[in-house]
Chain length 453, copies 2
């Protein structure tokens, strides 16, 4: 019997009517002959409301306490979905993150899954039940409840799919799939039929609606992830290993009865590099490409946008080995994730290091950096919030000057100033003023003609 | 260092201001040099709201699912109280029922505590923390979350106090203590300075605001329970072992530094009968007492009232041994608690059995009784809801006809018809129409002159 893991987001569960509608969708998959694990987020804006409630009693709610508080949001939705399934005549059971055996580290508010003990979930499935799991939450080895961070239910779903070797993980949300850019910013944005894990990871890291870690896990364990709307039956986007020609993969989910064969990865297998014989077809052209070549052979898949960027610059540090470690270790210990890092060493042997963090982490990051800066002999620490990252993402455009220059030209033509630039194998990102962010997305979407098929 | 367990009810935690006020009260006890475990109920009407939410998706929410849903109410309040304590500068940690090691049986909705593994609570106390425990909830050996039933947080508090051998369990609520009758029904009702476990158990079983099982546990483990208002510092009522003359016990809680000596029971010790030499003073007079004798020597402690009573009568059962067992075993298996039982055997060898259950259990009880009645050869099953139990409670009035007749006269004078009568060692209860219930309480309170000291 095929095994499908589904995830439903908060907007899909905002009220009783939507919960019953989700229960009907889950029930239909079960009726069609599949085992189903449904992972649910908290209803509507519950998480924000709970954070607001916490702030009525404490200016800075303690992270461990906040996690136990926030975990209640998903307990409410998972029990309600289960009750609705039973009301519709299905055998179903709800499990909290701890009951589902989702073990994490102790980084409250942004815990990472360390292992899944799926025995209980397997037993409930074997007993013929639909299993409804509270997303976003787990438990430490010391029996403390943790949350995985914003959007963490995606990661719960993919992790469970990986642990159970599910045939597919379906993420149902309030959008119809993955787009070439945010459709609210770029009305002409196109929905993608499919996308590879690496490209999706870049899009997700840079602002697309999915939890980046869910894509990372999906890539490592080769879990096919299908992203679609919970409100319609319009085909969504399949995130999977894109090795061969794109048209060998269907964008619609494969029929349930044939789904078993789709699973190609095994638990624990490291992320596979693109090395299949077919991959050569996508090899980049290192000379500035003509537009026709680009359209034919190398694609910018989409434009990612992340508005909550802050930048810290440590100026005039005497250059010596171990500098970066001394600077970034205290941030890592504090659980602060550093994104872009740029280091420039001048002629005088002193170096400037700039890096970005999320706006929410800026105060804590500045505190840590300022405490370590004197030991490094730094001349000063500057910080800047109100920034955004705008990125073009596409496999096979690595180090291709044509893309970068075309990106910079599109932004310059629109009067957008670039504060920092970084590139990875499959993306080019520019840090710009947040005030110009949405305009920059539109400029790039148009500049790379993403509105055309 | 003395160890105090405190319990705060939902009305004491209804909003942020009240939560901060509770945190200040808890903090003050800690400052005074005691270890503190605080057990909290859900905020305000949260439990009812969650039940209402469940009914929006299912006509009869599944009991296991409902328990996991309801358990979130106390998780919210215990994390908020902990955050507030930390905001006030105290070291504090919240623990869910499962984290606090509160193990129960699998009777969802009315689970009974089977054992407490208090290791985590002890470790947190040893680390200098105030421990805030979510009341009303526990976990089964099979890792399912349970709730203890309405008012279950009282039982959580007393059970933890017993397991930790605490010096005292303080129940803070929206009333100032235990009264001779419900002050909302009888304005002249008097607050008691103290009361024994057995009398309090009868009052609680019959409608007083405390969870009867908490009193039962308190009696078994000899935990002194102090009931007082969370909104004022007015002295409350001490529930404890009343062996000697009443005035040897102070109604106000003993000072913290001297509290250690108050603990007289050990865990697991069976409930002690009244057998101390002093107890003779309270022995009943078996002749109908004059009013002066009653006032001096034997006291009616209070009037209990419980409005949610339903009655089932199984008519014309051929009398034979094992009849009652065959009738009541299916009810016990369904977790339905039977209160009053009356059996009358007529001259024709056929017997009628009547018994009461809580109104909420009536439909399920009737179903079970009707399924077993044909096998018993019964002539029919009748049921009647809309009833109430009104009781007089007092130690030392067992089998005293004077009390019973005085009670019946008081009710008759007020035009109250009695449907059933039962007596126990320390109470006399009458089942009457609910519509006359409040009037009956007033009649009895006046009839036994409980408004006088």
């Amino acid at each position: 019997m095929p095994l499908i893991v589904q995830k439903y987001g908060g907007s899909s569960l905002a009220d009783a009517e939507k919960i019953l509608s989700v229960a009907r969708r889950i029930g239909a998959v079960r009726q069609a002959g599949a085992d189903v694990v449904a992972v649910v987020s908290a209803m509507g804006d519950t998480t924000d409301e709970l954070i607001g409630l916490a702030r009525t009693v404490a200016r800075e709610p303690h992270a461990r306490e906040l996690d136990l508080l926030l975990s209640t949001g998903e307990l409410v939705s998972c029990t309600l979905v289960t009750m609705a399934l039973r009301e519709l005549g299905h055998e179903a059971i709800s499990l909290s993150g701890p009951q589902a055996g989702i073990y994490t580290d102790t980084s409250f508010g942004r815990a990472r899954i360390s292992r899944i003990e799926a025995g209980r979930v397997r037993r409930e499935l074997a007993a013929g039940r639909i299993v409804v799991v509270a997303g976003f939450q787990g438990i430490t080895a010391g029996d403390d409840v943790t949350t995985l961070g914003r959007g963490g239910s995606d990661t719960t779903a993919v992790a469970i799919a990986a642990a159970l070797k599910a045939d597919r993980c379906e993420i149902y949300t309030d959008v119809e799939g993955i787009y070439t850019a945010d459709p609210r910013i770029v009305p002409a944005a196109r929905k993608l039929n499919e996308i590879g894990y690496e490209e999706m990871l870049e899009l997700a890291s840079l602002g697309a609606k999915m939890h980046p870690r869910s894509i990372e896990l999906g890539g490592v364990y080769r879990v096919p992830i299908y992203v679609a709307s919970s409100f319609s039956d319009v085909p969504g986007t399949l995130i999977h290993a894109v090795d061969g020609p794109a048209d060998t993969f269907a964008a619609e989910p494969p029929p349930l009865r044939q789904a078993q064969g789709q699973r190609t990865g095994e638990r624990g297998e490291p992320m596979r590099e693109r090395e299949s014989p077919d991959a050569g077809k996508n090899q980049p052209d290192y000379s500035p490409p003509a537009e026709s070549q680009m359209e034919d052979r190398i694609k910018v898949t989409g434009i990612a946008y992340n508005a909550n960027v802050a930048k810290i610059t440590v100026r005039g540090i005497p250059d010596r080995p171990g500098l970066a470690a001394a600077l970034f270790e205290p941030l890592a210990e504090a659980g602060i994730s550093v994104d872009t890092i740029v280091q420039n060493t001048g002629g005088d042997g002193a170096t400037d290091i700039s890096f970005t963090v999320s706006s929410a982490d800026l105060p804590a990051a500045v505190r840590r950096v300022e405490s370590v800066a004197p030991q490094l002999g730094a001349a000063g620490v500057d910080s800047d919030s109100g920034l955004a990252a705008v990125s073009i993402v596409g496999s096979g455009m690595q180090n291709t000057p044509g893309y970068a220059s075309r990106m910079f030209r599109a932004l310059a033509n629109g009067g957008v100033n670039i504060a920092m630039i970084t590139t990875s194998e499959i993306r080019i990102s520019c840090i710009i003023a947040e005030a110009q962010g949405r305009e920059a997305v539109r400029l790039l979407h148009e500049g790379f003609q993403l509105d055309r098929e």
